[in-house]
């Protein structure tokens, strides 16, 4: 399993269902993989465009459903959808998560992996995997933050469903301001009073500072004990 991060490329090997970090800080070409080795790739949010749409009713037929989601997508993303791979998932009765990623990026990635002797059989996204692993039985709204260097994705999870998603890049000292803006927007438009958070970082040194900033905003941390997060083999990066 390979995690493509902003700053690093993490390699994990599956040893009897226990993911172990095998090496960091080098390129695929330098790593001695066995011939025709299957690999899975977890892409960080950099190449993705996320949206969560709210519908009164979602059609039963997949064709109609796709048309409806694309119609809504065009309102927030006026560019042509042809160069993009559009994936959407129904989260619950009325919410749909939409993801866009460029075809050419995926093709280039697969080509790169194949030239290194790898066979990509699974390509997914770290945000999706984080969503899957941060759904808690508690219906109270909470802020989930996925952080990889300056790249951040935040979403509000309420009643076991992500309701609002936002991606932003934070520079020096802007991180907490962006979080504050997100909370204000959610309070105003969705009427969610968020008091708790989950922070998922990629193990960088700034995570302690981020926790302090979130505490300063009056948010309480939810400590995830689940270390089986797929995008984080070994569970090493949930702080």
């Amino acid at each position: 399993m390979i995690y493509f991060g902003t700053r690093e490329l993490l390699f994990f090997q599956n040893r009897k269902k226990n993911w172990q970090l095998s090496a960091t800080g080098f390129t695929i070409a330098e790593h001695p993989f066995p011939a025709d080795c299957e690999c899975g790739v977890i892409l960080n949010p950099h190449h993705f465009i996320y949206n969560i749409f709210d519908f009164d009713k979602i059609p039963w037929r997949r064709k109609d459903r796709k048309l409806l989601v694309e119609l809504r997508l065009r309102k927030v993303f006026p560019d042509s959808l042809d160069p993009y791979h559009h994936h959407f998932t129904i989260l619950n009765h009325g919410n749909v998560l939409s993801l866009l990623i460029r075809h050419d990026f995926l093709a280039a990635l697969e080509e790169e992996l194949r030239s290194a002797g790898l066979r990509p059989v699974f390509i997914t996204n770290s945000t999706v995997e984080t969503m899957n692993n941060t759904v808690l039985p508690d219906p109270e709204p909470r802020l989930v933050i996925e952080n990889d260097g300056e790249l951040n994705v935040t979403w509000i999870c309420a009643k076991r469903t992500p309701r609002y998603i936002r991606k932003f890049s934070s520079g020096h000292g802007e991180w907490s301001q962006e979080i504050r803006r997100t909370l204000a927007f959610v309070k105003k438009n969705l009427e969610f009073q968020v008091n708790r958070f989950i922070l998922v970082t990629n193990g960088n040194a700034e995570s302690t500072k981020k926790l302090e900033e979130l505490a300063a905003l009056g948010l309480t941390r939810i400590d995830l004990q689940d270390s089986s997060a797929r995008f984080l083999p070994g569970g090493r990066t949930i702080k």
Partner: protein
């Protein structure tokens, strides 16, 4: 929230387990449907054969009843003819009883006018109940007036003659039905 399954790989890993599960599920569903269909069909078949048997028994029973009732029906038909004859005789007797010579004579007394005389009269108690009579009239006008009065009673003028100063007419009448 349902688990989000996202795999963007162009050639995902072939999962024989999943395929096997799908195949098994399909086979199980097919077997279930087939067994249900076969069971329903066999039920229908047994039901149909039961109905056939019942129909056969009903037909045989009907034939038996018809065979046993034939002499009865013959007797009944003979009796009906006998009863019809008896009814006919009774009706004839009633008709005979209804005929009255007095009424016929009353009718003639009512219908004959002044200036005409009855010469001969024949009354018959038959089906037609016609009255045959020969009239004498003192004038042609009297005779004509008599004809006019008799016209509603199916007057038939069979012969007319002249005898001395009198005119004679041979007539037939049918009095009104009572």
């Amino acid at each position: 929230m349902n688990r989000i399954n996202l795999n963007l790989a162009a050639k995902p890993r072939f999962r024989p387990g999943r395929l096997l599960c799908c195949a098994l599920l399909t086979i199980a569903v097919s077997v279930l449907f087939t067994s249900t269909a076969v069971s329903k069909f066999s039920n229908s078949l047994s039901e149909y054969s039961k109905w056939r048997q019942l129909e056969k028994e009903s037909r045989q029973s009907l034939q038996r009843i018809q065979a046993s009732s034939a002499p009865l029906r013959r007797t009944l038909s003979g009796n009906r003819k006998k009863w019809d004859n008896q009814v006919q005789i009774a009706n004839n007797l009633i008709d005979g009883k209804k005929f009255s010579f007095i009424k016929q004579l009353d009718f003639l007394e009512e219908i004959l006018i002044d200036g005409t005389w009855l010469q001969r009269l024949t009354l018959k108690n038959d089906k037609n109940r016609r009255i045959n009579l020969v009239l004498s009239a003192d004038s042609f006008e009297s005779l004509l007036r008599q004809y006019e009065k008799m016209l509603p009673f199916e007057l038939v003028i069979r012969a007319e003659s002249e005898k001395g100063n009198l005119l004679q007419a041979d007539l037939a009448l049918s009095p009104e039905n009572e």
